[in-house]
Symmetry: C2
């Protein structure tokens, strides 16, 4: 019989959101404007709906937190983003097996009403990452980290999750881990997370990194099928 | 073509979680121990997976927030609660059409490793409700409200959602509304919510109310099918 798990223990250098230390960090960050972006994300923070849907799950949280109208129904009369509606850029059946890479994440975000900037970990630096964390903290944009779990001392490999806040004085990022069946949200060293974003994704040969997502100002309306042509294909 | 919606506007006496006023209430409640129970719920707050699954969605949030191990797999190797796993006490196909009532909610909670107390709104009083809110605020138990949306000036009728915290000085409850495609989390008058819990559910002829849920101390292990016999049937 296959081994099953009810959650996993975080590595010792990650501080769980609900732990006494995590609550203390939360209060400090809240008081120092490190959690202005937390509120809309907390409203939409959810569990990735499939084990390989960390990218889609992070994108669902992001698009709903940005209050983007998908322009098509989810269930009943409600227009709403859920993973199964992100069926473009790559076949959903493939994504269910292998997840998405950073480019596919960006493609899906663009096709669904968001403006996106991709930063590769290997050609960035720690100061740029701290500037992105400050942007996430301010709520000016949603920042999604694409990182290697193993480099963080966690089980697993490539993973996506949104950044919920930044404790600047202690240089700690709050990861809203969408694999909520595995790890709770946690605070981690900004530098360690940056290193984990510089790891190469073996499926693309490119470094992971982070994605800055904003609601598109223009009328980037999804087509009736809810998909679009990836920019690289035009 | 049927009308569709991207969210709904809250009634004017409800204060949205992410609004400037909502953020202020959050900071005040956090500083006065009104949000001790918020943290585990925030980790698991999610969107009900079907339009009629407000009860099941609230229970999924509750069971996962209480760290109850379902004893059976959700997807992949992960043991985790999701709505489609709560297939006992009433047929899931029926629940998809009509939702659950308070007794079915309690039955499902008991069958899945929780201890439950049900309080009917019509035979309770405001002080008992405030005591329940204080319990939710402390994190000693999870409190789920079953109320009539219309009595709150909202569209819709019967609804369930967990209580995320309590601002005692202003007598405001934080509702973590699981219909996140409709309303954001919001602060409401404890008294108005209590009145909405005293409304009669026309399907049962009984008043709505609230449910206090705790992790069961005993070894209430789910059977391999993940179901059990409702207590009333023993």
């Amino acid at each position: 019989m296959r081994e099953t798990f009810h959650r996993r223990a975080l590595p010792t250098d990650a501080i769980a959101f609900s732990s006494p230390e995590g609550r203390g960090l939360f209060s400090e960050a809240l008081a120092s404007a490190g959690l202005n972006g937390y509120f809309p994300l907390a409203e939409q923070f959810h569990t990735q709906s499939e084990p390989a849907f960390c990218g889609l799950g992070s994108l669902v949280v992001t698009l709903n937190a940005l209050s983007i109208d998908p322009g098509r129904s989810w269930k009943g009369p409600w227009r709403w983003f859920a993973e199964e509606m992100l069926d473009c850029c790559a076949p959903l059946a493939d994504i269910r097996e292998r997840g998405v890479d950073v480019e596919e994440f960006a493609c899906l975000a663009r096709c669904n009403g968001a403006d996106v900037e991709v930063r590769r970990g290997d050609v960035s630096n720690l100061e740029a990452w701290r500037a992105a964390l400050a942007m996430a903290a301010s709520g000016e944009a949603v920042v999604v980290a694409s990182y290697d779990r193993a480099a963080m001392g966690q089980t697993g490999s490539g993973h996506f999750s949104p950044i919920g806040g930044y404790h600047a004085r202690k240089d700690l990022a709050l990861i809203l881990d969408v694999a909520r069946f595995k790890y709770p949200p946690h605070w981690v060293s900004a530098e360690r997370l940056w290193q984990a974003m510089a790891c190469v994704d073996p499926t693309t040969g490119l470094a992971r990194g982070w994605i800055v997502v904003r609601r598109s100002a223009g009328a980037r309306i999804t087509d009736p099928g809810g998909c679009c042509v990836p920019e690289g294909a035009i």
